[in-house]
Symmetry: C2
Subunit: 791 residues, 2 copies
């Protein structure tokens, strides 16, 4: 094996070293006084309790799934029982990624609050370092896991085999198990964490802010600890597992297609497989470099501009550096020209595809920001519609969400088309890989938000001076913007990744395409399109129900605990934590099961082509529902936030507590499960279903071999007929004029009077001589050959 392969896990190890060093630095910071320590302990314990409960349930799932996978793997010669092992490793790594994130987040939050006593710059440093520990941890684990597993598997299964050998195909197939493990844990973590955090958030707000009229994070509110725990398990651990899964899936999809690519390179044809892993490695290195840019001056004022600028510097710095170095990498690694499934493409095409990917990601971020940012037309329209009540606010948000799919879909469609033009299906995959390269930095930026949010909560509950909360609020506000743009990026990369996986699936299932003109494939398209709807419904229902349970518990405590409102009675925080934990664990099961089981049923019962239709339907509908929900939620959130500084509606200024503000709170509450539970789950949902399909593809190819073959032969016959049919078109005398010129019909008998120059289409050659064609049946003539769809 070429030594470059060994470089991949090294990148991972470097990232993990960075994680340990930075983590130690965060731990070294002061964690404030007793009160702060107490509160942060509550939060940390609550978070750990959730993770324990979650991982316990998931371990049963992993064991059962691994056994089934092992059986399936060992029964197919293109796979192996060890796919079960890869699956378990993927699952464990994904869980570990979530765990690392949550550990550092529950340490950084209190230390950020403490640092905010000094300055904004210090607070940013602590919170962002916390975020980057997580980002680098996740990326490091992914690259380490994928890289070393590939080396091990190749050594065992294909030590000296060429890239196009059956052995190599098998090696990569086993590797898909790793991604399956990662993505399934990601789905449960995202859904479970999303339900937890929003149940606590909505529950705390509805009674605390709306009914009791106490501010957010008030220690008198029994749900406040659960709310802060939620930020950690949902926005940190959930997101960590999510991005770990996405990152792995994207790299893997490119590897699968890379293996199929015929490439005359200097690495034994391995360059197309190596490229995505090395780009990921470069992304890690330049994400580290990027973290140095994220700093602001000690004298910076308390506003969002310098913080946003610093984060942008870090983000764009790492993206640009990775992009530039990728160009050199491609030039070094890839041959002049390659072929994938009959489509030839060049080195420059690959570079072009990476650039298309980055352009799509950038445009998606910009558009998403436009639809969710304060002061822009969409959010302003929601604000205006808040003046006529709750209902018009909701209508406004829903229509903004639906509208926000327009441009991103056009960008995405152009991206699919563009990256395909550049480098075929490999281009689509590498475009996604390019976008995901700086996942470490993306995640650092995403994770610092909830840390700052938590720090604000701790400051409030510990009754720290107001300026501390002001500083953490600045960080939180920036975090909200980056979270929204991050989601735009994530859905775009998920769409491209799913398409790459989809393409890989077609190859491995040995089918020739996915023809939605076939009735069964079309039925699959409908059923697939429905999955994101039912999934979203289950997720937001779960939040609604858990929130209601939370509301009732908080109301009970307010009613029954004496002195709670005066601050003399102590709320029973742990009861609220328990409600959120239990509800989220229980309610994540069904949506998760649907995501995993439905492609299995469709694939095994109806075959790979119907499964392909199903995946396409789910991907399209999932991307749309993801954008709709994320952006509607983000826009509602910022419409509500706009009232804090006062908004002008028809010449009158409205502030918090005004009627329009109350309407905007309704929108925000509806948006919460949209943007933090069901919306972000769509990414994982579509990728997970594609990976499930990819894992079962070799088995499906064997199982449905005969019907696939039959369809192909039918299709071939039909094409032959279609092509030859048009080649032997009728002479002009029959085409241009009416049939009566040449062929007359009387009492069911056709007279072919045109002779050989003008043959009647219903008559045989012999009949076309002018003599009446006896027993010719014009009514039953055969049409111009038309497609014959096989069901």
């Amino acid at each position: 094996m070429h030594s470059l392969f060994y470089l991949v896990p090294v990148f991972g190890i470097v990232a993990l070293l960075f994680t340990f060093i930075k983590s130690a630095w965060v731990t070294k910071q002061s964690d404030g006084g007793d009160r702060m320590r107490e509160i942060s302990k509550y939060i940390a314990e609550g978070a750990m309790a959730f993770l324990k409960a979650e991982y316990k349930i998931l371990s049963y799932f992993v064991i059962i799934a691994a056994i089934l996978l092992g059986i399936m793997g060992s029964s197919n010669e293109k796979s192996h029982w060890s796919i079960a092992l890869a699956f378990v490793i993927g699952a464990v790594f994904s869980a570990l990624a979530g765990f690392i994130g949550m550990r550092i987040a529950t340490k950084s939050n209190v230390r950020t609050a403490e640092a905010a006593k000094t300055s904004l710059s210090k607070a940013l440093k602590v919170s962002f370092t916390g975020g980057s520990v997580m980002g680098m941890g996740v990326a490091g684990l992914a690259v380490l896991g994928l890289g070393s597993l590939f080396i091990i598997l190749k050594t065992i299964f294909a030590p000296e085999a060429g890239v196009d050998s059956v052995e190599m195909e098998r090696t990569i197939e086993i590797l898909t198990g790793f991604s399956l493990g990662a993505e399934s844990i990601a789905l449960f973590a995202r859904v479970g964490g999303g339900i937890y955090t929003k149940a606590a958030d909505v529950g705390a707000d509805l009674v605390g802010k709306v009914e009791a009229g106490i501010p957010e994070d008030d220690p008198r509110n029994p749900a406040t600890i659960a709310d802060n725990v939620g930020d950690n398990v949902g926005d940190v651990a959930g997101m960590g597992a999510d991005l770990f899964g996405s990152y792995v899936a994207t790299v893997l999809a490119t590897m699968v297609l890379g293996r199929e690519t015929t490439s005359m390179d200097n690495f034994g044809g391995m360059a197309p497989i190596l490229l995505p892993m090395l780009i990921a490695g470069l992304g890690i290195i330049f994400s580290m470099v990027g973290t140095w840019f994220v700093r602001i001056s000690d004298t910076a004022g308390i506003n969002t501009a310098p913080v946003q600028r610093a984060l942008n510097m870090g983000n764009w710095g790492s993206i640009v550096l990775t992009a530039v170095s990728s160009v050199f990498l491609v030039k070094y690694l890839m041959p002049e020209s390659m072929t994938l499934r009959g489509h030839e493409f060049t080195q420059n095409g690959v570079i072009g595809a990476i650039m298309v990917g980055l352009a799509v990601g950038t445009l998606m971020s910009i558009i998403t920001e436009y639809y969710t940012a304060m002061g822009k037309r969409p959010v302003m329209s929601i604000i205006r519609q808040s003046s006529t009540g709750h209902a018009t606010n909701i209508i406004g948000g829903l229509s903004v969400g639906m509208e926000s799919t327009f441009l991103p879909i056009l960008v995405l469609a152009a991206g699919i088309f563009g990256s395909y033009i550049c480098a075929g299906l490999y281009g689509v995959a590498i475009a996604a890989a390019g976008m995901m390269a700086t996942t470490a930095m993306q995640l650092a930026i995403d994770a610092f938000g909830p840390i700052a949010d938590n720090a604000g909560g701790i400051a409030e509950m510990s009754e720290l001076p107001a300026e501390v909360r002001e500083r953490t609020d600045v960080l939180d506000a920036v975090g909200n913007t980056t979270a929204a743009t991050g989601k735009g990026f994530a859905i775009a990369s998920a769409a491209l990744t799913s398409l790459a996986l989809f393409a890989a699936f077609v190859g491995i299932a040995k089918i020739d395409g996915i023809d939605i003109y076939r009735a069964d494939v079309l039925a699959g398209l409908f059923v697939g399109g429905m999955i994101p709807f039912i999934f979203s419904s289950l997720a937001i229902t779960a939040v609604g129900k858990a929130a209601m349970a939370m509301v009732e518990e908080v109301r009970r405590q307010f009613r029954e605990i004496p002195g709670i409102m005066e601050g003399t009675g102590k709320p029973e925080y742990e009861k609220c934590v328990a409600i959120s934990t239990e509800a989220s664990i229980k309610k994540m099961m069904l949506p998760g099961a649907i995501a995993i089981v439905s492609p299995l049923i469709i694939g095994f019962v109806f075959g790979p082509e119907v499964l392909g239709g199903f995946l396409a339907g789910a991907t399209v509908s999932g991307v749309l529902m993801g954008m709709f929900q994320n952006n509607a939620g983000g826009a509602w959130d910022n419409a509500k936030k706009s009232f804090e500084k006062g908004v002008d509606i028809n010449g009158q200024i409205y502030y918090k507590k005004s009627e329009p503000h109350k309407a905007s709170v309704t929108g925000d509450t509806v948006g919460d499960p949209f943007k933090d539970t069901s919306g972000p789950s769509m990414n994982i949902l579509i990728k997970l279903m594609s990976i499930v399909a990819l894992v079962i593809a070799p088995t499906l190819a064997t199982l449905h071999k005969d019907s696939i073959r039959m369809h192909q032969q039918e299709k071939k016959a039909m094409l032959e007929q279609l092509i030859s049919g048009e080649a032997s078109a009728k002479p002009a005398c029959c085409e241009g004029s009416t049939a009566t010129d040449c062929c007359k019909e009387e009492n069911g008998v056709v007279t072919c009077s045109g002779g050989a120059d003008c043959p009647c289409p219903n008559c045989t050659e012999k009949e076309n001589t002018g003599a009446p064609a006896i027993e010719a049946t014009p009514a039953s003539g055969t049409n111009a050959p038309a497609p014959a769809p096989a069901q």
Copy 2:
């Protein structure tokens, strides 16, 4: 031509005769006192003003579109300039259908109110007769128009040509213009009417009920006349045009596929074309018969049960009679066996497909009713979630709407699959035609609701005795249920019709299928999926904005007109009517344009296959969004209505004006544009886009001839490679064990030691003798042949 063809317009004339007789009967009824006459005059004038304004704008559109169509038609030998004429006739008929409906509705409303003074049975008789005038008028116009136009076109263009001739293809192609005209007017009427009615409704409710605390339809509310006009232009005229378009499209789609069907029948091969028209004719006759069943005893109590029973009798009576007679018709008309695009099917298969269609329609109605009916789990869950506020009510409704897609999509997918199994693509089309056969009855049942609603409004405004309102309320409540189930039926038939049109499009565009594995087709799928989102967004934004304008106008009048609240000052009703009219006309343009223009752009620029992907995406997403919005809206509505009799939430009974009720009003208001503007438009949207595609299909086939041919040849080559590639599979010794057994690689040189029994896949036959294969390049080997997608 067989004389049976002449029977079709006769059915239409019979229906129109029925319409005139019944209409005269309604006119003969008493229209009450001066006050009632005055109010009904306001409503009738407002409605007519809207229709005038709408038709004026649409006439420009029709003229321009007709010119373009004429040019396109005359430039393609498969079409003709007279398609423009067919288009204009279709548009005029559709407008006429809306006009007839509205005329009779604005007559029946006041007469129903007057009849309700006597008894519920009398009121039902008047309102249902009004509805059946409309239903029969719409169906009669459709059958008359389609049937006679077919006869005329065939006489001109294909007088003696066989069913499979070019001439006949052209005849049917010209006929698609009729459907295009009908469906485009339907879209504008539905969207314009939907915006009108909901802007007035939401505006009237927000200020009247919520702010001023006056009841619905109170004459002091300036928006109340606009609200009642809205019921007529949206729920009656809009729906009339809608169902006219659907009905025509469904029959036409079946005719297109019927023409392609090879059928050895006694009608010159015309039986498959004749069948849908005759079934529609039978549907009309048995709908007339069905209207006799819709009557209740004079002594029936004031409750919904007998009314619902009477309507069910009428509905089911006509459906069962039509179904049974269809069996005989098929047996008489169709030959033992037919073939469509290589798929053979039988007479019994056709009967089976019709039954599948009826089963799908019935199941859809039942499921829709479950999700929107009072007392069932979904509505109950929204009621419960209303107790925790506006936000949880909204979350509840949204999740019910999303969940409600689950079973209908499974039913629909099974229906597609089942009807295809029965009779191929012709089966899919005839299933839809069977479902739509009793459109006249469906429409009568649908239209009687708004008439009763209006009657209630007139009773309220004329200050008639309370029992009058009670009686009309009973009719209105039943009307709400039938409206919801009608929508379930409509979306199912739209989906099947679109698929039939889609199949017809594939045939006429001369493509072999729609392979979403191609990057450009997949991009088309994404863009198509987005259309229903942007369309819905535009529609509900329009309602939101128009409602806000209405709110401000009503507030202004309350403020500025002295004595308005005391009933001494007269509100300026006409100003509110003008606001709704103007807003709806202005705002229907863009969504309408998107529906018509987007398939044109996609088709002409990217070719028919990409357009096929686009249509599939739009159909799937449109069906899902239609169900989601209709059912969420219906469920919210009934959740709110449940509070009128009091609901039990956790042991406490809540009534109107309670906090949970206020939350439920918010949900209902959000649901209004969902269920009456954007939701029902989805039907038309997906059908209209398919018809546009069908109309341009011959032109696309010519325009993109070369690229279509190229793709077909590439695909054929790929299939040949795939089929032959697997046929010559490698022997077991290379497949089962690792490659090292037979073929060793050292320093880039492969030793093929396996000999002839175990050939190395990377070596030529000669090399597989055990001798080292010099210059073999394992790294760049060709893979097992895999699909080569053409972009």
